[in-house]
């Protein structure tokens, strides 16, 4: 067997060397982008907020389209999540957009458990991805990623402060998803009140330790705009799909008797800022943060929960996978056992039922036999009676004939004289 010797000075200490001409690997980003374009992109937004805060309208406005759906009622018994997926296309970019809405959030009298369905939903998407990642035969690169990339938290435009429901919910979500807080229906607040409101909200978030999503400032090309935008959070938005003529253009707006709120006018609201940040500048970063931070955290916690530990330098490199497989086999074994048990039980029940039915059948037969016998007995009795009656009848007939005969004889004796007399008379 041949010996192998390695001399691999790899790693970070690689020397930089100059190129003597154009090689062509500067097309790598293009190659990579092309592959992604062919593959299509995925983006999943979760809208959390009370009923009536304009979540659906804002989505329609952001994506310039009319997503389906009826406005929901306010009498939901609990919080559910409704998700819809749409395929959008702009030039050659295909986007699979999933919009998840909370239904019934904030409508209940007791809102203690409101956040639970949301957390469960987010975790369920992580779980689905984790399951796929742990499979033996997996297809990760064609997996439809349903993990939530951005959570728009809709704050009611009270003008005062955050509701306790908002604080509790955001606190529960901030380690699981990128939260972007927005002030909904912000045309209900005046500009001066809005500034105060934003400051209040921001300070409450900070004092409660809520980690909202920060637009990244490490890339020089976007650092400036991102840090400016960070200071404008939470965005005060207005949504509208109706168009009004302003000047000689049709713009999205809300028309009031005292004026028109233009959605895309930066003096009127922060809608444009939201769109810039959410879609045009940081969509990719939102996806990356979800995968490298939130998902990894979920995965780590989940695996530790299941009892896995990382490997020590000199022992089992595959404790994770092997134990996982072992657990899975165990689970499958249990499942099979249960199945077997159920099958046995079923067979047993069938047998019992069958026996019951047989019993019943037997009884019926017996009953039938009894009845039949009864009937035969009766019949016999009747026949006997009939026979005896017949005998009686016969005897009676005999007696009658005998009596008649006697009578006739007696009559004949008298009758013949009558006859003689008749005859003599005639003569």
């Amino acid at each position: 067997k041949q010996e192998v010797s390695y001399t691999a000075p790899e790693g970070e200490g690689a020397r930089a060397v100059p190129l003597a001409g154009h090689v062509g690997f500067d097309s790598m980003p293009d190659q990579l982008v092309n592959k992604s374009v062919n593959h299509g992109f995925c983006f999943n937004i979760l809208c959390v907020g009370e009923t009536g805060l304009g979540k659906s309208t804002l989505m329609d406005t952001l994506f310039n389209t009319k997503f389906e759906g009826e406005p929901t009622q306010h009498n939901q018994p609990g919080v559910t999540l409704k998700s819809n997926t749409y395929e959008l296309q702009e030039s050659n970019v295909r986007l699979k957009l999933t919009v998840v809405n909370t239904v019934g959030f904030g409508d209940q009298i007791n809102k203690e458990d409101s956040y639970k369905s949301i957390v469960e939903f987010i975790d369920a998407q992580f779980e689905a991805y984790l399951q796929e990642e742990l499979k033996i035969k997996r297809t990760l690169h064609s997996y439809h990623d349903t993990r939530i990339h951005a959570c728009l938290y809709f704050i009611a435009p009270t003008g005062h402060s955050l509701k306790s429901l908002d604080l509790v919910t955001m606190k529960k979500l901030d380690s699981k998803v990128n939260i972007i807080p927005i002030i909904a229906k912000s045309d209900a607040i005046s500009k001066s009140e809005l500034a105060k409101f934003k400051i209040k909200i921001t300070s409450e978030l900070v004092s409660n330790g809520v980690q909202i999503y920060q637009f990244p400032t490490d890339d020089e090309s976007v650092a400036e705009i991102n840090s400016t935008m960070n200071s404008h959070l939470p965005f005060a938005v207005v949504g509208s799909t109706e168009e009004v003529k302003i000047g000689n253009k049709m713009v999205k707006a809300r028309q009031y008797p005292w004026g028109t709120v233009q959605v895309e006018n930066e003096n009127h609201c922060d809608f444009v800022k939201l769109r810039e940040m959410l879609i045009r500048v940081n969509m990719e970063d939102l996806r990356e943060q979800t995968h490298t931070r939130h998902y990894e955290l979920y995965r780590r916690c989940k695996l530790e929960e299941m009892g896995f530990k990382d490997t020590d330098p000199d022992s089992k490199p595959f404790s994770l996978q092997e134990t996982y497989e072992a657990k899975r086999n165990e689970f499958m074994g249990e499942l099979q056992k249960k199945e077997e048990e159920m099958r046995q039980m079923f067979v047993q029940r069938v047998k019992e039922k069958e026996a019951e039915l047989k019993e019943a059948e037997k009884e019926l037969h017996e009953k039938f036999d009894r009845l039949k016998k009864l009937h035969q007995d009766e019949k016999k009795k009747l026949e006997e009676k009939k026979k005896s009656l017949d005998d009686e009848l016969n005897t009676f007939k005999q007696k009658k004939t005998a009596a008649e005969l006697l009578q006739n004889q007696a009559q004949q004796a008298g009758g013949s004289t009558t006859l003689k007399r008749d005859k003599e008379r005639k003569k």
Binding site: K1, Q2, V4, T7, P9, G11, R15, A16, V17, L19, V23, G24, F25, D26, S27, M28, P29, L32, V33, N34, S36, V37, N38, N64, T65, K66, E68, G69, T80, K82, N84, T85, Y86, E87, E90, N92, V93, L95, F121, I136, H141, D219, I279, R280, V281, M283, D285, T292, E296, R300, E304, F308, D310, T311, S315, K316, P317, F318, L320, E322
Partner: protein, 342 residues
């Protein structure tokens, strides 16, 4: 050299789908856009991100000594990136065993940084008895998969798992002019299922154009008969467009190449070439040899695809096989003994 972005509009229905998760389902709605949203900016966002993080690329060269492997790699990347130039002394003796020697460099072009690792295999095919000389190579390739897998199954994972997996293995065929040698087919047969193999005809300037064409045909036929699937493999063509592009490449392979890192003046231009008494063989001249085709194929159009096939297919195959072995994990011996106790 901007890559034309493939236009997919024609053969894709805009499918409107839906799926409900939590507790309610709802049918998907229309998707007619009335105005610019900006989702196509994700291309720029993605491009910026990848330029910031840079790329890793690992290329392996296999062939017996003297076939110009190091020179070819240097010519491909227009830089002294091979083992020979990295300070390793040119081997005085041909090693008695197959060694695996890898060397990494960072090269930059157009703002794109690439960490290029060249893995050389001196000693391959040089012995009298070359039995199993592919084994150390196969072992090395699998070890890189193993390394990656180990990182992937950690509880706390690195943000970016270092990728040392071999993305591409260039196999140098000796320009005998006759046919493939047994070692060639043996090697390629065994390794084509665990790594992307690109066969090239080395030192093509020793054959005339006609001889080269005939040799190529024969080699192609032999590869086909031995069932060797070299890169780009037919079964991984993603769609019709891919297939037609790749078919053209497959028909032209194996490329007959010449390597050189010396420049000469030809017709007023400085070109890379080999000077002979009867003329200068211009490396990048498509009439002289097929180096330019190889370079375009390898670097300018399929570099990312090589990585993806390695990651999505070869690595996954290794992983699935590995995870199916219940407890049958062989201790991987290396210089620092790290046995698995399972």
């Amino acid at each position: 050299q901007q890559q034309q972005i493939k236009n997919r509009l024609s053969h894709l229905p805009v499918v409107v789908g839906s799926h409900g998760h939590a507790t309610s389902h709802s049918s998907g709605g229309g998707s007619t856009l009335l105005g610019y949203i900006g989702i196509d900016t994700i291309i720029e966002q993605m491009r910026k991100k990848t330029m910031k993080t840079g790329f890793d690329f690992n290329i392996m060269v296999v062939g017996h000594s003297g076939l110009g492997k190091s020179t070819l790699v240097n010519t491909l990347f227009k830089s002294q990136v091979s083992r020979r130039s990295a300070g390793w002394a040119r081997d005085e003796k041909i090693p008695k065993t197959v060694e695996i020697k890898s060397v990494s460099h960072v090269i930059e072009e157009g703002g794109v940084k690439m960490k290029l690792t060249v893995v050389d295999t001196p000693g391959f095919g040089d012995q009298i008895n070359n039995d199993n000389c592919w084994e150390p190579i196969s072992k090395y390739i699998n070890e890189q998969y193993e390394k990656f897998l180990k990182e992937e199954v950690n509880i706390t994972r690195k943000k970016r798992i270092p990728d040392t997996r071999v993305h591409c293995c260039i196999y140098f065929i000796s320009p005998t002019g006759h046919s493939l040698r047994q070692l060639d087919t043996e090697f390629m047969k065994r390794l084509s299922h665990s790594v992307n193999i690109i066969p090239v005809i080395a030192k093509a300037d020793t054959m005339t154009i006609e001889e080269r064409q005939e040799f190529k045909q024969r080699v192609r036929k032999e590869l086909e008969m031995s069932g060797i699937e070299f890169y780009p493999q037919k079964e991984f063509d993603e769609d019709m467009e891919d297939k037609s592009d790749n078919d053209k490449i497959r028909e032209a392979m194996p490329f007959a190449v010449v390597g050189s890192d010396k420049e000469y003046q030809v017709n007023g231009k400085r070109v890379l070439g080999r000077k002979t008494a009867w003329g200068i063989v211009e490396v990048e001249n498509p009439n002289h040899c097929e180096f330019a085709q190889l370079r375009d194929f390898l670097i300018r159009s399929h570099l990312q695809d090589l990585k993806e096939v390695t990651h999505n297919i070869h690595y996954e195959t290794y992983r699935a096989k590995r995870l199916n072995e219940n407890g049958g994990l062989h201790p991987i011996s290396s210089n620092d003994t790290q046995e698995s106790n399972l």
